[in-house]
């Protein structure tokens, strides 16, 4: 196993805070996916993880590895661009498909 590089205290505190904020936000989004009632309410919940959660975790990783200087931070930038650009497209197509299926099966009522 490769050992992680040492960084200063300020950088490690900031990295830990951003990492915990990102993970907790993603967990809140996943809990909303379980607990909300209809599909159109549930479609909003995981976007919390894909926007704020991914941004916080990628920012923590960028901060840690730019302070350590062991590898380039290109991957995190690319991941952020991909996730931010693709989540709205996915949700637009998915909700449009769900509306079409609802209207085809049981009229325009949105529940379950």
């Amino acid at each position: 196993m490769i050992h992680s590089p040492e960084v200063s205290t300020l950088v490690s505190v900031l990295t830990a805070t951003l990492l915990l904020i990102g993970a907790a936000t993603t967990l809140v989004g996943a809990l909303g996916l379980v607990r909300l009632q209809s599909f159109y309410q549930r479609a909003h919940a995981p976007t919390l993880g894909t926007t704020l959660g991914a941004a916080c975790v990628a920012l923590a990783s960028m901060m840690y590895f730019s302070a350590a200087g062991t590898r380039p931070i290109l991957h995190e930038v690319l991941i952020l661009i991909f996730v931010t650009a693709t989540t709205p497209i996915t949700l637009i197509i998915l909700v449009r498909a769900s509306r079409l299926r609802d209207e085809a099966s049981e009229g325009p009522s949105g529940n379950q």
Binding site: H3, A23, L31, S61, H75, E76, T90, L94
Partner: protein, 92 residues
């Protein structure tokens, strides 16, 4: 790696694991097909964040490349599934 950072990496791994379990619950028990597709989308984003956390914990570049591939291919698969729900076929 300092004690604070190591313990916060462990806590973040646990939180993201619980988030993946919630998404898996919705994937298995989701009442309709669009719920399952949405839960699958949430599941791969959570797995990608978990891989990023593993990468911070171990310092290896391999995890970040895997996370980038998941971010790319997950988008393609979710769009293909949503297109299938929309039109009944993926490529027309």
């Amino acid at each position: 790696m300092s004690m604070l950072l190591a313990s916060s990496v462990i806590v973040a791994k646990i939180l993201l694991g619980i988030a993946m379990a919630c998404s898996t619950y919705r994937l298995v028990c989701g009442p309709r097909a669009q719920d399952r597709v949405l839960a699958f989308d949430s599941l791969y984003v959570n797995a990608m964040l978990l891989l990023l956390t593993f990468g911070i914990g171990s310092g290896s570049t391999l995890y970040f490349e895997a996370a980038m591939i998941i971010a790319l291919l997950g988008f393609v698969s979710t769009v293909a599934l949503a297109k299938f729900l929309l039109r009944g076929e993926v490529i027309e």
